[in-house]
Symmetry: C2
Subunit: 339 residues, 2 copies
């Protein structure tokens, strides 16, 4: 099989997968409202790896929507340390593509035993995770065969946006949701910018991906995807953390990917990009508008993560090919996570 066949095919399914989820927006909203405790003390997200990165967007959107603290659960507290907890009035959202990551299933089970209401966000509603929940949000992304997760990650991002929309006010409207599948298709139909940027990165051994606020999770996912397909050491850092210390290692020619979208975090990123360029860094921008190196369609900041992650997949795919690697099966990676 030609290298990258699986990953390319799965990336191409994303507009459809997202469209099917968006069609279910009102049903998902009604379901999560039925399950969520009222009053709500807090929301806890249980995830790992790529799912952890979708959770970072979820964390922001859910706190904006519910107004209550959102915690990213520490699974080892429940799987290793036998923590005695009281999770009454807590909504626990557990994310696992396969629904079979034992750590995630065990953690959700323990939190529900401690009083939490549990939602499973999974691609397999009959999985152990689905069976361990009060409500299953089925991603409907179909089987994923390439090792780098693509359509399941964007489906998770959309799922979090829909759960937040069900629980309160969110910074995007229904028209933007409906337009999302076309926005993703627009990115996929335009691979040339990713090819061009990939050619500038073939000599990189390390890079930093930076963003802030609503795009921060997309920066983490971009770093993971590049690292998975190319073995380049890639760090995702919030712009605030990058300024605070790691900027010391950014010198002439150091590659940095910056994710930007109009919104409250935009000015901070624009300033950081200028600072990085002053230091001689090789900055690639992922942002709406024709001036960006990797241009994004014009979508609200809260949904920009989704199109940015698709751009990142394209870049990871093109860069792996440019390096003579097979994006479908990076060395040393297995698909199933048993922790």
């Amino acid at each position: 099989m030609t290298p990258g066949t699986l990953m390319a095919a799965e990336m191409a399914e994303q507009p459809q997968v997202i469209a099917r989820l968006v069609e279910r927006a009102d049903a998902i909203a009604a379901a999560v409202r039925r399950v969520a405790p009222s009053p709500l003390a807090a929301t806890a997200i249980v995830a790992r790896g790529s799912s952890d990165h979708a959770s970072v967007l979820g964390r922001y959107l859910l706190e904006l929507a519910t107004g209550r603290p959102v915690s990213l659960a520490a699974p080892s507290l429940h799987t290793l340390y036998d923590a005695h907890v009281d999770y009454r009035d807590v909504l626990a959202l557990a994310v696992s593509q396969s629904g079979r990551t034992p750590e995630i299933v065990t953690t959700l089970t323990r939190l529900r035993d401690a009083g939490a209401r549990g939602v499973a966000i999974t691609n397999d509603p009959d999985s152990p995770l689905g069976l361990a929940s009060d409500l299953t949000l089925w991603l409907g992304a179909g089987d994923e065969h390439a090792v780098p997760a693509t359509k399941t990650v964007t489906a998770q991002l959309v799922a979090f946006a829909l759960l937040a929309r069900g629980l309160g006010d969110v910074p995007f409207d229904d028209a933007a949701l409906t337009a999302l599948p076309d926005a993703v298709a627009e990115v996929l139909a335009d691979p040339e910018p990713a090819r061009r940027v990939a050619r500038t990165l073939t000599g990189a051994t390390r890079l930093v991906v930076t963003a802030r606020g609503l795009l921060y999770g997309a920066a983490l996912e971009t770093a993971l995807k590049l690292q998975e397909t190319t073995s380049i050491v890639a760090d995702g850092l919030s712009s605030a953390d990058l300024r605070h210390g790691p900027i010391a290692v950014v010198d002439r020619g150091f590659p940095v990917l910056a994710l930007l979208a109009p919104g409250p975090a935009h000015a901070d990123l624009v300033e950081l990009v200028a600072l990085l360029r002053e230091r001689g860094a090789q900055v690639t921008t992922i942002a709406p508008g024709p001036d960006a190196d990797l241009p994004l369609p014009d979508v609200p900041e809260a949904l920009a993560s989704i199109v940015a992650v698709v751009r990142a997949q394209q870049l990871a795919y093109e860069l792996a090919l440019a390096l003579g690697r097979d994006p479908d099966a990076p060395e040393g990676l297995d698909k199933v996570t048993v922790t």
Copy 2:
């Protein structure tokens, strides 16, 4: 001034700083019990950078002690996105060495305006953060002049242990707390292992630091400290996350630091170290007992982070010197964080 003079002097103060905090253990416990909401819905920790790493230990200990979810706050929600939140029945713990990081002060102020009870963990009780809180836990670490934070970080770790002890059951006893200053002094009196390991790492351009559970925050801090003083690209990763993907970039000679201590996470780390050695990685262990490359005194797992971080400081210091750098003033780093 001889390179590293400041950092060495500040590291040497740690037994005293910790002893003074431990002496206040009961007073701190009484104070935090007076301030904490009852019943407690959740705890939110507000921090950034090095303080963020101490918060990871805090996150585990506080959830074990209170049984309720612990959230690491996303400051940008409050400083940039104007989130409308209801933080009644939430205990907010804000950490800033200087007490002057505007983002941390603004976030604590907004959370208290939204109903939270706020504790400031700071080295300057008269700072804006101290003045914006219901209770100030003064670290009493004295001024810090070297750029890499040392005594303020270990003071923060101890502060979280003491706050958790005040709020419920913790996995260490008072005898272990009382013995902690001597354990730190024992590490400081024995710099030879760090010198020896530093000589094996002078050729490294990147490395991974791994741990799990109660030692995970120490792994993040170890990576930051090494990166700050040497410009080596250092990633802190939980052992679960390392197995799940990044292990693909670990090949022959790749340097990995593994932090271990007897406890529920120990078996997982022992297995991972064996796997990494099979792959030909250059593994350095930081663990209790004479067999470790960087040996630690025998302290409970919940307090092992503190002695492990002191070992990491030693290594960062020795490695910077071995590379001809000044640990006191790494290139490109400023002391004050304005985000």
